[in-house]
């Protein structure tokens, strides 16, 4: 992997280059100003804000219930998980209890969402590095999950999944069978991806030793989620500060060792498998009863501040909600995991080649909707 010195043999002046905001591999409208020495990255500056919609400010002028659909649109890849985090906070402030069936179904859908999100990540990451076929394979599986979403929520992407106090309605008939069918097939499919990638020499050459960050440094940069765990730090909110009933399920938190792109890749692949296990446990133990608890028509939390942190597919997603006792939040501050994670990009890409920038952006799994809000 120490080929960088050689590749700098024939270079001259620093070339400044704009990657994005319209570029196939910046996953939206990220713009990176690269300073290149030949093909080696000397410096990288992220320029964000092209997708800024002021969601936090809009929230201040909406009632708590009206806010929810906006959070579908921050991280649109993991809309379910985003809404979930906000609602957990609101319910905690109001002291609303969600019935057990509701809680279980919520966890199931969030984990489905995690799988779907990781599939999308794998698809784009693979095609960034040039493996076209994995892209479409991943979309095939994601499609199944989106169909489940459609059956339950009536929408595929911006699902407006949950309501204060639980779900809008119970599972539709046939949902469980469909879910079981998907879960049974899924491991073989993941093996298929791994066949194409995990032991592929080119893939290893492109990901091992790229964008290495130690656990300590990862914490300092505020990385969370798979990028943190890829560096070997055992920190998963579902285990560290269980919420919403996660403590009732058994699952492992996959960890990497070297903190490189490959480890983050392996961690995410393994996380998909673990999510599947959680869903299977949920389906096995799914109790009867209502899916929605008692909740007032107008949500007026008592004045105060509350922080709700959940483990979204991308890392720690935090909602810091300030209430002044009215029906509208006084302030909602979102802690988007990849907004924080993106700042490490400069540190990660320095000294690598231009092609690695693509791999590293991919490995951070950014969603610009979330970064810019």
């Amino acid at each position: 992997m120490n080929t960088l010195e050689e590749s700098t043999v024939l270079d001259t002046k620093v070339l400044e280059m704009n990657m994005g905001p319209q570029h196939p591999s910046t996953h939206g409208v990220l713009r990176v100003k690269l300073k290149l020495d030949g093909e080696k990255v000397v410096d990288a500056e992220c320029i964000i804000g092209y997708l800024h919609r002021g969601i936090e400010k809009i929230s201040e002028n909406r009632s708590y219930i009206e806010c929810v659909p906006y959070y579908d649109r921050t991280d649109y890849i993991a809309a379910v998980a985003n809404v979930y985090g906000f609602l957990l906070g609101v319910e905690k402030m109001m002291g609303i209890e969600v019935p057990e069936r509701g809680r279980y179904i919520r966890i199931m859908m969030v984990e489905f969402n995690r799988i779907a999100s990781h599939l999308l990540w794998l698809a784009t990451h693979a095609i960034d590095i040039g493996a076209m076929t994995v892209f479409l394979y991943c979309f095939r599986e994601r499609e199944e999950i989106l169909k489940l979403f459609e059956a339950l929520f009536g929408a595929r992407l911006t699902t407006h999944a949950f309501r204060v106090g639980g779900l809008w309605k119970d599972l539709p008939p046939g949902f469980e069978q469909a879910a079981h069918k998907f879960l049974d097939e899924f491991p073989a499919r993941v093996d298929e991806y791994e066949q194409l990638l995990t032991h592929n020499r080119i893939w290893l050459a492109r990901t091992k030793g790229i964008g290495v960050i130690s656990g300590k440094e990862a914490i300092q940069w505020g990385l969370t989620g798979p990028p943190l765990r890829g560096s070997g730090v055992d920190y998963d909110l579902r285990k560290a500060r269980p919420y919403g009933g996660y403590e009732e399920f058994e699952f492992d938190v996959p960890l990497g060792e070297n903190g490189d792109t490959y480890d983050r890749y392996v961690a995410r692949i393994e996380e998909m498998r673990q999510s599947r296990l959680i869903i299977q446990q949920v389906l096995k133990r799914l109790p009867g009863g209502p899916v929605r608890g008692k909740a007032p028509k107008i949500v007026k939390p008592p004045a105060g501040e509350y922080y709700s942190g959940t483990e979204s597919p991308r890392g720690e997603l935090g909602y810091y909600i300030v209430s002044d006792g009215s029906a509208q939040p006084f302030r909602v501050k979102i802690r988007p995991p990849t907004f924080i994670g993106l700042q490490a990009l400069r540190r990660l890409v320095k000294g690598h080649l231009m092609a690695d920038v693509i791999a590293i952006i991919g490995t951070l799994d950014i969603v610009l909707g979330e970064v810019d809000r």
Partner: protein, 364 residues
């Protein structure tokens, strides 16, 4: 006089015309083949709308390219920008003038049949006995291999100049990459070919095939390593995955042709696929016995002769093209420095060692 005119002008022109037409068609349908194959590898259907299973898709694409607006970026070097696609396309076609599609004397019967209506039999015989007239190739020159190598090296310039003339950073990087890449892999490729030449003792492609016939073995069975070297280097030379760095769409947007659109883009596109066919044809000729059936001298395999030589040639070319497409559907892309490392530190030593080994075997 009239005989010479027929031998050296009329027949070659007909052949060239046929090759240009057939090749253009082949390229067009190669793109469709690629799209369909990759689609099926990726569990989807590919083009389905235009014609039965998308059979007319290439024509529609061609029309679209031709009818699109012709854009030259305002800061581009217009002259070179215009020339570059042609520079890369023309050599790709020129190479085929020395590729033997069939054995010498392939058109003997046909020619005799047509010409005997117009000419007296003596001159007909003179024409028919001339290999340039009756052979399954446009011409057979005694430096054909060198010719192929040198002409295809001209094609590289198109890529480089196109990248430079666009006056844009992504194309420039693409051009830089391609110049380094193609020069590096050309060396290993040359050595892979040299080990064949050691055995064949000729630079003429026709003679190389004839030598394989005389030996009874395709050179593939004697020098499989050289074949794979040629194939890998060929992939690199034609910018195919996993070596498609000059155009790596996810890194360099479109590489050297980022700024190209419409007709000019289609020329680059054609050139890439024409080069694929060239490499396949070269590999077939050098290693897979060109127009020969497998094991041409084994008597009980004689029934394979039912299939005409040209068909053998085309089948083999198709198989190699299939391999190209298959690889594209399977592998990720190298990084630039890794690519150079492989070229210089893996393929070149292997190729050198291979040549030395086989030269030693021959000398003993």
């Amino acid at each position: 006089m009239i005989e010479n005119l027929i031998i050296y002008f009329l027949i070659p022109f007909i052949k060239i015309g046929a090759i240009v037409l057939i090749l253009s068609g082949a390229i067009a349908y190669l793109t469709l083949l690629e799209r369909k194959l990759i689609a099926h590898i990726q569990v989807r259907l590919g083009p389905m709308r235009v014609g039965w299973h998308g059979l007319l898709q290439p024509i529609a694409d061609g029309l679209k390219f031709v009818l699109k607006e012709d854009i030259v970026p305002s800061k581009a070097d217009a002259l070179i920008f215009t020339l570059a696609p042609m520079i890369s396309l023309i050599p790709a076609f020129v190479v085929f003038s020395v590729v033997p599609f069939g054995p010498p004397g392939m058109f003997e019967g046909l020619l005799r049949g047509i010409l005997s209506r117009f000419l007296e039999s003596a001159s007909v015989e003179r024409i028919v006995s001339n290999p340039i007239a009756s052979g399954g190739f446009v011409t057979d020159i005694n430096i054909a291999v060198l010719f192929v190598l040198s002409v295809s090296s001209v094609g590289i310039l198109g890529v480089i100049l196109g990248g430079w003339a666009s006056n844009s950073k992504y194309p420039l990087l693409g051009a830089l990459r391609s110049s380094a890449q193609m020069v590096s892999y050309e060396v290993a490729m040359g050595f892979a070919i040299i080990s064949v030449l050691l055995y064949a003792g000729s630079l003429s492609l026709v003679e190389i095939v004839q030598q394989q016939q005389a030996g009874g073995w395709w050179y593939f069975f004697i020098q499989p390593v050289a074949f794979f070297l040629l194939l890998v280097c060929g992939m690199a030379e034609t910018n195919r995955l996993p070596f498609d760095l000059p155009e790596a769409e996810t890194e360099l947007v479109g590489g050297f042709h980022t700024e190209y659109s419409g007709f000019r883009f289609s020329l680059f596109f054609l050139a890439e696929y024409a080069n694929m066919i060239t490499v396949s044809a070269l590999a077939v000729t050098l290693f897979w016995g060109g127009w020969l059936p497998p094991f041409p001298n084994v008597p009980w395999l004689g029934f394979l002769g039912i299939i005409p030589p040209v068909a053998w040639f085309l089948i083999k070319v198709f198989l190699i093209l299939y391999l190209f497409i298959w690889v594209r559907g399977t592998l990720p892309r190298f990084r630039f420095d890794q690519l150079m490392n492989y070229g210089w530190k893996v393929f070149l030593p292997i190729a050198l060692g291979h040549v030395i080994l086989y030269a030693a075997i021959l000398a003993i």
